[in-house]
Symmetry: C2
Subunit: 245 residues, 2 copies
């Protein structure tokens, strides 16, 4: 990020190999990487070919450690030990759900939204169906809202009347409806009701400032250089999931 | 494979970028790819950067289709529709186990061997523990054996006295003990007892000729250019797993 000096759009167009014949709009689905990242990747690939055994046993571990430190700083985590790399944001949500599921002693409500990304709704559905730890709930977040407090109020209303909800998956920026949700305030309401929160931040880093410690969700998954999953160590204290009640 | 003309060892040493300073022995854990494969990969990477949306939506699908046709021929599958790519051999076994697990109506025995790869034993253990579809069994395949028939006889003896076994995971070449198991004969005995078979062929393609239709296991996972999982479509007919009894 330092290398582009905070430039955007046409000013850093040449930093990408994207064809000049087209205007690439769909950065949400598929993207291009800066030339500096692309070239660093070629160097790593070459190193791997020269001595694969060394590379996977030693270099790789160092690179992952360095990478998690970099991401950790970008997202406001005080320790890189709370950050791991995952294959994609959906994989991050799955890892979070399955680690929570292991702690359940009885079935509990899992709350998604009507605007959740389709793959995440499928994942939530499958986790409920196959693993049997959760029962699926869906909150209606369809616009319009007057302001962000109305979204937060919908959560308060829903959780007031559904005390079996233990875990909520909340988008930071919804896809494809592109709404920026007030995640910090939603987490705060969820915690009032003892509900653990997993934030799907697939589209947020790079578009909005992220401070995972300020947001205070139990899990935050997103993409910044590479897909990551941030988690609060010992996150279950004080939340319903610890006792499964 | 055509390009190397069936050459091995020193004769195709230059086809790999491995350092001349070392003798790379551990091809089982980590490997290097031929220069032609490496260069083809660079071309695909470049194409992706130029137009990511097109690449993932169209080129990728064509490449995967072409790749599964190539792998299909290499492993003796009559249709490329029985071949999918997986992240690694362990991922292939997990996919097979979970798809079988979905068909179970009650708990059933899952048979691994004392020589199974450690990650596979962990996977089997976790599938038993978390998903609750299976109960873990372990057959002792420790050498010595007089001949391959003795290995097959151990399976016959085990299955005769453990009628609750429904699924067996069998290595083609064991790791790290490097025994070539008579998989075709083991599959045949398993089928006599109504047991579905998943072959872990992580180390087999390229070392021994593979003909998955001749082996006739319900699943075969291995590495050949890329990791793959072969499966028999509608494999459950006639086997215990269909009824869960």
């Amino acid at each position: 990020m330092a290398e582009t000096g905070g430039l955007f759009g046409a000013e850093i167009r040449d930093e990408f190999q994207l064809s000049k014949e087209l205007v690439h709009l769909n950065h949400g689905s598929f993207g291009s990487v800066p030339r500096s990242v692309y070239e660093a990747r070629l160097e790593r690939m070459k190193e791997l070919e020269i001595c694969p055994d060394d590379w996977f046993r030693y270099n790789f571990v160092l690179l992952v450690t360095k990478g998690s430190e970099t991401v950790s700083k970008l997202i406001g985590s005080s320790s890189s030990e709370n950050v791991v790399f995952v294959e994609n944001a959906t994989g991050g949500i799955t890892a979070a759900l399955r680690s929570l599921g292991l702690k359940m002693q009885s079935k509990a409500g899992l709350l998604v939204t009507g605007l959740s990304y389709e793959a995440i709704r499928h994942t939530a559905h499958k986790v409920c169906e196959i693993e049997g730890h959760f029962v699926l709930h869906t909150i209606n977040l369809d616009p319009p809202y007057k302001d962000k407090f109305e979204v937060v109020q919908r959560y308060r209303d829903y959780l007031s009347s559904h005390s079996d909800v233990h875990v909520a998956i909340v988008d930071h920026i919804t896809s494809p409806s592109t709404l920026l949700l007030p995640v910090k305030e939603i987490v705060s309401v969820c915690h009032e009701f003892g509900v653990a929160v997993i934030i799907d931040g697939a589209h947020a880093p790079g578009q909005v400032e992220i401070n995972v410690e300020d947001i205070n969700a139990e899990f935050y998954t997103g993409k910044s250089c590479s897909f990551f999953l941030y988690f609060i160590v010992n996150y279950v204290f004080g939340l319903k999931v610890i006792s499964g009640t």
